[in-house]
């Protein structure tokens, strides 16, 4: 029984993260509105960022800014959180906001031509062309 609790406490973060990912993926596949798909894409991306940040987590450690003077007499790495996933995720956030901007621009361009953002209506217009 206590094993189960340990596993539960040790993994629940990853599980909820997976659920979040699947919400995003579902919105991308099943939603009809282009902006809704875009939001789903963004949720998917942020959940992956959450996954990476969870990797970097360390129990009993503090944020990875060295205390004043700590650098001069040796740093105990177990006292500080792993900085590498944070670095990677800064880049990933930038990528996600760039993609978001370009996607919104494309959505506006689609709206200029079709006057709608619903995918089925756009497909209908394209078929009747």
């Amino acid at each position: 029984m206590s094993d189960l609790v340990v596993t539960l406490l040790g993994k629940y973060n990853y599980w909820l993260c997976v659920i979040l990912m699947m919400i995003g993926l579902y919105a991308m596949i099943a939603k009809n509105n282009l902006i809704k798909k875009l939001v789903g894409m963004n949720i998917f991306q942020t959940s992956i960022i959450l996954f990476y940040v969870s990797i970097g987590c360390k129990k009993g450690a503090t944020i990875s800014i060295l205390e004043h003077g700590a650098g001069h007499h040796g740093v105990d790495p177990t006292h500080y959180i792993n900085p590498l996933p944070h670095v990677l995720m800064l880049t990933a956030i930038v990528v996600s906001v760039s993609t978001f901007g370009v996607a919104l621009a494309l959505a506006i361009k689609v709206y200029r031509k079709h006057k709608t953002l619903e995918e089925d209506e756009i497909l209908m217009q394209l078929r009747s062309e």
Partner: protein
Amino acid sequence: MTNHYPALIVVLPLLFAFVVSGVAWVKKSLCFPLTIVGMGLSAGLSVCLLGRVATTGLVEYRMGGWETPWGIGYHVDYLNALVVTVVTVLAFINLIATRKNVVEETPEKAGAFYSLYLLFIVGLTGIVLTGDLFNLYVLLEVASLTSYALIGMGNGRAPMSALNYLFVGTVGGCFYLLGVGYLYIMTGSLNMVDVATLLPQMYHSSAVVMAFIFCLVGVGIKMAFFPLHMWLPNAYGFAPTAVGSLIAPLMTKVMVYVLIRLILTVFSVDFAFVILKMGDPMVWLSSLAIVAGAVFALAQKNLKRMFCYIIVSEIGYMMGGAWLGNNTGMTGAILHIFNDAIMTLCLFLCAGSIYYRVRGLELDRLKGLFSKMPVTMACLVAGALSIIGVPPTCGFFSKWYLISGGLEAGQYGFVAALLFSSLVNVVLFFRVIEISYYGDFEDHHGHGSSGEAVMEAPASMLVPLLIVSIGLIVVGLYTGGIVNHLINPLLLKQGFLG
């Protein structure tokens, strides 16, 4: 300076991209020459790098001078050097050939266009040269983001296809990132060589297997592997001419390179073929891709869309060859990356010059073009022969390796699919040639506005086109050299015994 070649191949186009986009606001006419200089330098340096790698076998470079597991390092072997040369040289040729298309289709934003062009090449060269898994993701996004913007520049259905490509492509990128995350959580490293040394102890862990599957799915989406190919024909078909002929030959091939790199360097051949036993199902899927691509191509009435479906089928060739699990098949796959890039560029450049004169690419508008544009059509025939696989064009040799690899591995379904698709290609191209040779020319400008008469494309398009089509044959004749000096040493070093 010679030590810095790997970095300079990526960095020089990057610097020129920023300069071009700034200069566009001061003096527009400088944009194109600057782009040519940047691209040309990059192409020249990558040829030099290929020469160095051919003699030394391996060129390493450390960004910022940091040792590799801590910093980002380049680890250039035969495969990287070969693919990067193809990418930069073909992009350079395409840049010259499509200048008139760009002037015509995007006159206002030429500066921004060329800047994005260079950034796209930066992305691709970076993907090919890097030895770091996360750096690969960032550059993948550079290449993808520029390609979304470039495709979306087109008119009509282009923005919608670009948006679809964006959705699908981002999911692909995210899956790859997730796979890298799985590797990172298990090994704590991001450097390809370092990960490869840490992995063997945990080959049987489900997380590593999932990491492989996620990387495979992510890269598969980006390369339009069969069940995930839906975005490709629209995105490439509706893109502006210069963009289509840039992205179509290069993007998918680079993604095939990424897959081969992941199998050979990161996960190792043992893991992919012996432990996971992924070989058979992937080869069957590839055979399906080849057949499906060929069948869809038969149904198309537009030249460019037909080429797009041919690409889907060619991806099947390369994936199948890579997954055959023997030396010959892998040689065929790597050779086909090289050859297919040249063939596809040849076909798309032909389509570009036809579009420039005829204003349409529907098959029935090609009637009588042989008499009007003899050189362009001759190049189209050369490209077609290579796609079909007629000696002495280069397409024949890679197909030969693929087929003999398939026979060696006992994958007769794959061999049958290859032969079937060659047959379909014969039908496809003979239909095109028949229409354009025997049909009577009809002036589609119509409605009194006679416009300029259809004639041969301008010399700035024809010369690069001729170079590419002569290249098809030259590369074919030098196949033996490429295989012996570049591909065999690589496979030997990676412990690929077959």
